[in-house]
Protein backbone atom coordinates (compact mmCIF):
# COMPACT_ATOMS: atom_id res chain seq x y z
CA UNK A 1 0.00 0.00 0.00
CA UNK A 2 2.79 2.38 0.97
CA UNK A 3 4.75 1.48 -2.14
CA UNK A 4 1.70 1.97 -4.35
CA UNK A 5 1.16 5.50 -3.10
CA UNK A 6 4.85 6.27 -3.39
CA UNK A 7 4.94 5.27 -7.05
CA UNK A 8 1.68 7.09 -7.71
CA UNK A 9 2.84 10.36 -6.18
CA UNK A 10 6.39 10.29 -7.49
CA UNK A 11 5.35 9.21 -10.98
CA UNK A 12 2.71 11.91 -11.15
CA UNK A 13 5.17 14.47 -9.89
CA UNK A 14 7.81 13.59 -12.47
CA UNK A 15 5.31 13.54 -15.34
CA UNK A 16 4.00 16.95 -14.29
CA UNK A 17 7.56 18.30 -13.95
CA UNK A 18 8.39 17.09 -17.46
CA UNK A 19 5.23 18.77 -18.71
CA UNK A 20 6.39 22.05 -17.13
CA UNK A 21 9.64 21.97 -19.08
CA UNK A 22 8.28 20.65 -22.38
CA UNK A 23 5.06 22.63 -22.62
CA UNK A 24 5.05 25.56 -25.03
CA UNK A 25 2.21 27.36 -23.33
CA UNK A 26 3.38 29.16 -20.18
CA UNK A 27 -0.02 29.01 -18.48
CA UNK A 28 -0.23 25.25 -19.02
CA UNK A 29 3.22 24.70 -17.58
CA UNK A 30 2.33 26.80 -14.53
CA UNK A 31 -0.73 24.62 -13.96
CA UNK A 32 1.40 21.47 -14.36
CA UNK A 33 3.82 22.86 -11.81
CA UNK A 34 0.95 23.34 -9.37
CA UNK A 35 0.00 19.69 -9.81
CA UNK A 36 3.62 18.65 -9.27
CA UNK A 37 3.62 20.60 -5.99
CA UNK A 38 0.43 18.88 -4.87
CA UNK A 39 1.97 15.47 -5.63
CA UNK A 40 5.03 16.46 -3.65
CA UNK A 41 2.78 17.37 -0.72
CA UNK A 42 1.50 13.79 -0.98
CA UNK A 43 5.08 12.54 -0.72
CA UNK A 44 5.54 14.75 2.36
CA UNK A 45 2.48 13.11 3.93
CA UNK A 46 4.00 9.70 3.24
CA UNK A 47 7.16 10.86 5.03
CA UNK A 48 4.92 11.87 7.97
CA UNK A 49 5.69 15.57 7.50
CA UNK A 50 2.07 16.67 7.75
CA UNK A 51 2.76 20.26 8.68
CA UNK A 52 5.08 20.74 5.72
CA UNK A 53 2.55 19.14 3.37
CA UNK A 54 -0.03 21.71 4.46
CA UNK A 55 2.47 24.56 4.17
CA UNK A 56 3.51 23.30 0.74
CA UNK A 57 -0.05 23.36 -0.57
CA UNK A 58 -0.93 26.69 1.06
CA UNK A 59 2.23 28.65 0.28
CA UNK A 60 3.74 27.13 -2.86
CA UNK A 61 0.71 25.75 -4.67
CA UNK A 62 -1.51 28.55 -3.41
CA UNK A 63 0.34 31.83 -3.08
CA UNK A 64 3.42 31.36 -5.27
CA UNK A 65 1.68 29.73 -8.21
CA UNK A 66 -1.16 32.26 -8.16
CA UNK A 67 1.51 34.95 -8.38
CA UNK A 68 3.14 33.12 -11.31
CA UNK A 69 -0.14 32.72 -13.18
CA UNK A 70 -1.04 36.33 -12.50
CA UNK A 71 2.24 37.58 -13.98
CA UNK A 72 2.08 35.20 -16.96
CA UNK A 73 -1.40 36.38 -17.86
CA UNK A 74 -0.53 40.03 -17.19
CA UNK A 75 2.47 40.01 -19.50
CA UNK A 76 0.62 38.39 -22.44
CA UNK A 77 3.36 36.06 -23.62
CA UNK A 78 1.44 34.52 -26.51
CA UNK A 79 3.22 36.71 -29.06
CA UNK A 80 6.63 35.27 -28.17
CA UNK A 81 5.81 31.59 -28.22
CA UNK A 82 6.90 30.85 -31.78
CA UNK A 83 10.64 31.19 -31.24
CA UNK A 84 12.12 27.71 -31.73
CA UNK A 85 14.26 26.06 -29.08
CA UNK A 86 17.93 25.86 -29.99
CA UNK A 87 18.95 22.27 -30.61
CA UNK A 88 22.44 22.79 -29.23
CA UNK A 89 21.16 23.76 -25.79
CA UNK A 90 18.83 20.78 -25.75
CA UNK A 91 21.75 18.38 -26.26
CA UNK A 92 23.80 20.31 -23.73
CA UNK A 93 21.06 20.02 -21.11
CA UNK A 94 20.64 16.30 -21.82
CA UNK A 95 24.36 15.68 -21.31
CA UNK A 96 24.28 17.71 -18.09
CA UNK A 97 21.23 15.83 -16.82
CA UNK A 98 22.59 12.38 -17.63
CA UNK A 99 25.91 13.22 -15.99
CA UNK A 100 24.22 14.38 -12.82
CA UNK A 101 21.95 11.33 -12.74
CA UNK A 102 24.98 9.07 -13.21
CA UNK A 103 26.72 10.64 -10.21
CA UNK A 104 23.60 10.30 -8.06
CA UNK A 105 23.05 6.68 -9.14
CA UNK A 106 26.67 5.82 -8.34
CA UNK A 107 26.34 7.40 -4.90
CA UNK A 108 23.04 5.69 -4.14
CA UNK A 109 24.41 2.31 -5.26
CA UNK A 110 27.22 2.71 -2.73
CA UNK A 111 24.87 3.52 0.15
CA UNK A 112 24.55 0.74 2.74
CA UNK A 113 21.04 -0.63 2.49
CA UNK A 114 20.87 -1.98 6.03
CA UNK A 115 20.93 1.47 7.58
CA UNK A 116 17.99 2.60 5.47
CA UNK A 117 15.82 -0.45 6.05
CA UNK A 118 16.38 -0.36 9.79
CA UNK A 119 15.60 3.33 10.10
CA UNK A 120 12.42 3.15 8.09
CA UNK A 121 10.95 0.67 10.54
CA UNK A 122 11.19 3.04 13.50
CA UNK A 123 8.33 5.25 14.49
CA UNK A 124 8.93 9.01 14.89
CA UNK A 125 10.36 9.92 18.26
CA UNK A 126 11.55 6.50 19.27
CA UNK A 127 15.26 7.25 19.13
CA UNK A 128 15.09 10.57 20.92
CA UNK A 129 12.64 9.32 23.48
CA UNK A 130 15.16 6.73 24.54
CA UNK A 131 18.10 9.11 24.42
CA UNK A 132 16.54 12.05 26.24
CA UNK A 133 14.78 10.12 28.97
CA UNK A 134 16.91 11.66 31.70
CA UNK A 135 17.18 15.21 30.35
CA UNK A 136 14.66 17.75 31.58
CA UNK A 137 14.70 21.19 29.99
CA UNK A 138 11.78 23.56 30.18
CA UNK A 139 8.37 22.93 31.66
CA UNK A 140 7.93 20.31 28.95
CA UNK A 141 10.61 17.68 28.51
CA UNK A 142 12.23 16.77 25.25
CA UNK A 143 11.02 13.18 25.43
CA UNK A 144 7.47 14.41 25.84
CA UNK A 145 7.88 16.56 22.76
CA UNK A 146 9.26 13.70 20.74
CA UNK A 147 6.19 11.62 21.45
CA UNK A 148 3.99 14.19 19.77
CA UNK A 149 3.32 14.83 16.10
CA UNK A 150 5.55 16.76 13.75
CA UNK A 151 3.80 20.12 14.17
CA UNK A 152 4.49 20.14 17.91
CA UNK A 153 8.07 19.13 17.34
CA UNK A 154 8.71 21.80 14.69
CA UNK A 155 7.10 24.46 16.86
CA UNK A 156 9.15 23.42 19.87
CA UNK A 157 12.34 23.47 17.83
CA UNK A 158 11.51 26.87 16.32
CA UNK A 159 10.58 28.74 19.45
CA UNK A 160 12.43 27.21 22.38
CA UNK A 161 14.94 29.49 24.03
CA UNK A 162 16.55 27.01 26.40
CA UNK A 163 19.76 25.87 24.74
CA UNK A 164 21.64 24.94 27.90
CA UNK A 165 22.12 21.34 26.83
CA UNK A 166 23.81 22.36 23.59
CA UNK A 167 20.99 21.86 21.11
CA UNK A 168 20.26 24.21 18.24
CA UNK A 169 17.68 26.92 18.59
CA UNK A 170 16.01 28.42 15.54
CA UNK A 171 14.66 31.58 17.17
CA UNK A 172 17.27 33.88 15.61
CA UNK A 173 16.86 32.50 12.04
CA UNK A 174 13.10 32.81 12.43
CA UNK A 175 13.37 36.50 13.33
CA UNK A 176 15.89 37.13 10.54
CA UNK A 177 13.43 35.53 8.09
CA UNK A 178 10.78 38.03 9.15
CA UNK A 179 13.25 40.82 8.39
CA UNK A 180 13.93 39.24 4.99
CA UNK A 181 10.24 39.18 4.17
CA UNK A 182 9.95 42.84 5.15
CA UNK A 183 12.86 43.72 2.87
CA UNK A 184 11.31 41.67 0.04
CA UNK A 185 7.98 43.48 0.46
CA UNK A 186 9.62 46.90 0.29
CA UNK A 187 11.73 45.77 -2.66
CA UNK A 188 8.71 44.60 -4.62
CA UNK A 189 6.91 47.90 -4.02
CA UNK A 190 9.97 49.90 -5.10
CA UNK A 191 10.48 47.77 -8.22
CA UNK A 192 6.88 47.91 -9.38
CA UNK A 193 6.26 51.56 -8.58
CA UNK A 194 5.42 53.54 -11.69
CA UNK A 195 7.93 56.36 -12.00
CA UNK A 196 6.92 59.58 -13.67
CA UNK A 197 10.28 60.41 -15.17
CA UNK A 198 10.80 60.14 -18.94
CA UNK A 199 11.94 56.74 -20.13
CA UNK A 200 15.63 55.99 -20.75
CA UNK A 201 17.02 55.29 -24.23
CA UNK A 202 16.86 51.46 -24.60
CA UNK A 203 13.12 51.35 -24.59
CA UNK A 204 12.84 53.83 -27.45
CA UNK A 205 15.12 51.62 -29.52
CA UNK A 206 12.96 48.61 -28.81
CA UNK A 207 9.72 50.36 -29.70
CA UNK A 208 11.24 51.60 -32.95
CA UNK A 209 12.10 48.02 -33.87
CA UNK A 210 8.68 46.64 -32.99
CA UNK A 211 6.03 49.30 -33.56
CA UNK A 212 2.78 47.37 -32.82
CA UNK A 213 3.31 47.32 -29.05
CA UNK A 214 1.82 50.79 -28.55
CA UNK A 215 -1.78 49.78 -27.71
CA UNK A 216 -0.64 47.45 -24.95
CA UNK A 217 1.17 50.24 -23.12
CA UNK A 218 -1.96 51.94 -21.87
CA UNK A 219 -3.35 48.78 -20.35
CA UNK A 220 -0.14 48.17 -18.46
CA UNK A 221 0.07 51.65 -16.99
CA UNK A 222 -2.84 51.14 -14.61
Amino acid sequence: MNALFFWLFSGGMIVCALAVVLNRNAVASALCFTFAIVFMAGLFVMLSAFFLAAVQILVTAGAVMVLFLFIIMLLDLSAMEHIPRPKMWMGCSLVLALGFLLIVAKTLAGTPQGFVAQSSLRTPGQIHAARNEMETGDAITQSEVDQRDDTHRIGYLLFRTNTSNGRTSYVAPFEITSLLILVATIGVIVLCKQDERPRPKPREEITREAPPVEPKETSLKT
Binding site: L18, M40, F44, T111, I127, A184
Partner: protein, 101 residues
Protein backbone atom coordinates in the same frame (compact mmCIF):
# COMPACT_ATOMS: atom_id res chain seq x y z
CA UNK B 1 8.38 -3.78 -1.77
CA UNK B 2 9.86 -1.65 0.96
CA UNK B 3 10.29 2.03 0.11
CA UNK B 4 13.68 3.13 1.34
CA UNK B 5 15.50 6.42 1.59
CA UNK B 6 17.22 5.71 -1.72
CA UNK B 7 13.89 5.76 -3.55
CA UNK B 8 13.11 9.24 -2.29
CA UNK B 9 16.61 10.46 -3.09
CA UNK B 10 16.37 9.06 -6.62
CA UNK B 11 13.01 10.78 -7.21
CA UNK B 12 14.42 14.04 -5.87
CA UNK B 13 17.44 13.70 -8.17
CA UNK B 14 15.19 13.15 -11.19
CA UNK B 15 13.12 16.20 -10.25
CA UNK B 16 16.27 18.28 -9.81
CA UNK B 17 17.57 17.18 -13.20
CA UNK B 18 14.29 18.08 -14.90
CA UNK B 19 14.52 21.52 -13.34
CA UNK B 20 18.12 21.84 -14.52
CA UNK B 21 17.12 20.86 -18.05
CA UNK B 22 14.38 23.48 -17.97
CA UNK B 23 16.83 26.18 -16.94
CA UNK B 24 19.27 25.30 -19.72
CA UNK B 25 16.74 24.51 -22.44
CA UNK B 26 14.01 27.10 -22.21
CA UNK B 27 14.22 30.73 -23.28
CA UNK B 28 11.25 32.17 -21.49
CA UNK B 29 12.31 33.83 -18.24
CA UNK B 30 9.14 32.77 -16.42
CA UNK B 31 9.61 29.10 -17.33
CA UNK B 32 13.26 29.31 -16.26
CA UNK B 33 12.12 30.77 -12.97
CA UNK B 34 9.60 27.95 -12.50
CA UNK B 35 12.34 25.40 -13.19
CA UNK B 36 14.53 27.03 -10.56
CA UNK B 37 11.65 26.70 -8.12
CA UNK B 38 11.41 23.02 -9.06
CA UNK B 39 15.08 22.50 -8.20
CA UNK B 40 14.42 24.07 -4.80
CA UNK B 41 11.52 21.66 -4.29
CA UNK B 42 13.75 18.70 -5.13
CA UNK B 43 16.16 19.84 -2.42
CA UNK B 44 13.20 20.12 -0.04
CA UNK B 45 12.23 16.53 -0.77
CA UNK B 46 15.71 15.28 0.12
CA UNK B 47 15.60 17.30 3.33
CA UNK B 48 12.29 15.80 4.40
CA UNK B 49 13.35 12.27 3.43
CA UNK B 50 16.58 12.52 5.42
CA UNK B 51 14.67 14.04 8.32
CA UNK B 52 12.23 11.14 8.35
CA UNK B 53 14.74 8.33 7.98
CA UNK B 54 17.23 9.76 10.49
CA UNK B 55 14.46 10.79 12.87
CA UNK B 56 15.70 14.36 13.21
CA UNK B 57 13.02 17.02 12.96
CA UNK B 58 15.67 19.68 12.14
CA UNK B 59 15.43 18.87 8.45
CA UNK B 60 11.77 19.79 8.41
CA UNK B 61 12.52 23.11 10.12
CA UNK B 62 15.05 23.76 7.39
CA UNK B 63 12.45 23.04 4.71
CA UNK B 64 10.13 25.47 6.47
CA UNK B 65 12.76 28.17 6.10
CA UNK B 66 13.44 27.22 2.49
CA UNK B 67 9.75 27.54 1.59
CA UNK B 68 9.57 30.94 3.30
CA UNK B 69 12.67 32.29 1.58
CA UNK B 70 11.54 30.85 -1.76
CA UNK B 71 8.22 32.67 -1.49
CA UNK B 72 10.01 35.96 -0.80
CA UNK B 73 12.42 35.28 -3.64
CA UNK B 74 9.61 34.54 -6.10
CA UNK B 75 7.87 37.81 -5.28
CA UNK B 76 11.05 39.85 -5.82
CA UNK B 77 11.99 37.92 -8.97
CA UNK B 78 8.57 38.36 -10.54
CA UNK B 79 8.68 42.07 -9.73
CA UNK B 80 12.03 42.22 -11.53
CA UNK B 81 10.55 40.42 -14.53
CA UNK B 82 7.63 42.85 -14.65
CA UNK B 83 10.02 45.81 -14.44
CA UNK B 84 12.10 44.26 -17.22
CA UNK B 85 9.02 43.75 -19.37
CA UNK B 86 8.08 47.40 -18.92
CA UNK B 87 11.53 48.45 -20.07
CA UNK B 88 12.22 45.96 -22.88
CA UNK B 89 8.80 44.55 -23.84
CA UNK B 90 10.13 40.98 -23.73
CA UNK B 91 10.77 38.11 -21.33
CA UNK B 92 12.96 36.06 -23.67
CA UNK B 93 16.52 35.63 -22.49
CA UNK B 94 18.07 36.06 -25.94
CA UNK B 95 16.81 39.65 -26.06
CA UNK B 96 18.54 40.63 -22.84
CA UNK B 97 21.97 41.50 -24.17
CA UNK B 98 22.73 44.72 -22.34
CA UNK B 99 25.80 43.28 -20.62
CA UNK B 100 27.08 41.60 -23.78
CA UNK B 101 30.13 43.14 -25.44
Amino acid sequence: MEITLNHYLAVAAVLFVIGLMGVVMRRNLLIIYMSLEMMLQAANLTFVAFSRFNNHIDGQVFVFFVITVAAAEVSVGLALIVALYRLKRTTQVQDLTTLKF
